[in-house]
Symmetry: C2
Subunit: 249 residues, 2 copies
């Protein structure tokens, strides 16, 4: 050990500890590993044991850093929003800005297998996520929406995004193999199925058979967002809807 009264010569123990021999486990590393397992195995096979194995560590070691699997899933969820940078609200362009938010959200959820399943099980009220909620609300406020509409618009939009992506991944799960042209084949089969229904009992389904499973998820997604946007826009400048019923209570 070093003498207390002598300065330590620099070559002796250069930094006090160069490499901690064992890389210490951290929440970050655990979440990283969890994402690796998620992408490789999918949500149903995402288990504490798999995550531990990915890190070359005993299962119980995880529980030192993470209360339980639920907390791990919450930590994974929080990361979905990392690096989301919403622009300053521009009242003139709020619709494009919200559409952009939606597109970005979908892209992030599609970035990891089954991530939508995790997202739907959580409410974005973790402290780390509040800045993002705040910014989205800012967009709606700038648009001039009534307060009550502002308060619900974020929910409505996020629910749609999560639900849409979840449905995308459900279809993917049902047609897992079949090589590269799986989505194409799936679309064809489903459309054929709808088209083959008895037209007297299912006139509308038959008539829309070609559109139920559109060739472009992107288009269907954006049309959905557009419908919501038009609904929101119809409230611009209005009084809080049903305001009097509130003061009546």
């Amino acid at each position: 050990m070093t003498q207390p009264d002598m300065p330590t010569p620099p070559w002796e123990r250069p930094p006090r500890r160069r490499t901690p021999a064992r890389v210490p486990l951290t929440r970050e590393r655990i979440v990283d590993a969890a994402y690796t397992v998620l992408d490789r195995e999918g949500y149903d096979r995402l288990s504490m044991r798999q995550v531990a194995a990915e890190l070359g560590v005993a299962v119980s070691a995880l529980y030192v850093h993470v209360r339980d699997k639920d907390e791990l899933l919450r930590l994974m969820y929080n990361r979905v929003f990392e690096g989301y940078d919403l622009p300053e609200p521009d009242p003139a362009r709020w619709r494009e800005q919200v559409m952009d938010f939606a597109r970005q959200g979908r892209r992030r959820l599609l970035g990891h297998r089954d991530l939508a399943k995790i997202s739907l099980g959580n409410v974005p009220f973790a402290p780390e996520l509040l800045p993002h909620v705040e910014k989205l609300l800012g967009l709606f406020a700038a648009a001039g929406l009534p307060r009550r509409v502002q308060a619900i618009a974020g929910d409505l939009l996020s629910t749609y995004i999560d639900g849409f992506v979840l449905e995308e991944s459900l279809w993917r799960d049902r047609y897992p193999e079949t090589g590269g042209n799986a989505p194409e084949q799936m679309r064809e089969e489903v459309n054929d199925y709808f088209a083959s229904l008895p037209p007297d009992r299912f006139p509308n389904l038959v008539a829309l058979a070609d559109l139920m499973m559109d060739e472009s998820n992107d288009y269907r997604f954006e049309l959905g967002v557009e419908i919501i946007l038009r609904g929101l826009a119809s409230y611009v400048g209005e009084q809080d809807p049903d305001e009097e019923s509130r003061s009546r209570r």
Copy 2:
């Protein structure tokens, strides 16, 4: 035992077999039991073993009637729509009719604990459910919506309903005990939390604190549906949106 050579008196064994001693297991009875377990234990504790125990039967007996747990969940999901009776489409009242569908959907999902979780994991394309999809589409067709909007409107609406109810139940799960006034207390706590945020960093959240967790889920739900309805209504009579981009492909 009855004597072999004597005619059986009618009161002895009136029909050849009165009660089959063991009530035969059927899909119906299994789904019934599954709902009982779901209501009592919740989705996470809904297991094949619990269902079997509920029926007083070995686990493996279930697998004679049901391929796997996934199929059981699908059967449970199908029952959500049982007895849904949509009215004949009335073009003049399509908005009320759709709102009614939404209200009915939410009420059904709220009818059993965690049912929304099951609903979100399924697409309503089982043969038994197609009549309901057909009828909903009929409403949109009668409204005079463009075909592509018709094709997506059902998805949009169902996703919203499922997502909204799921979120309701997530909040319920987080505040399970605390007696009768749990929702009231929860609302207060959450609102206070939002109101206590630093106003310079979260101006919008603070400003909307009183509305984020409204006193009335009913009101928030219907406002969401109303937004969607207004968005849909804005398309009435329009050409298929982006139609030319489709023919361009």
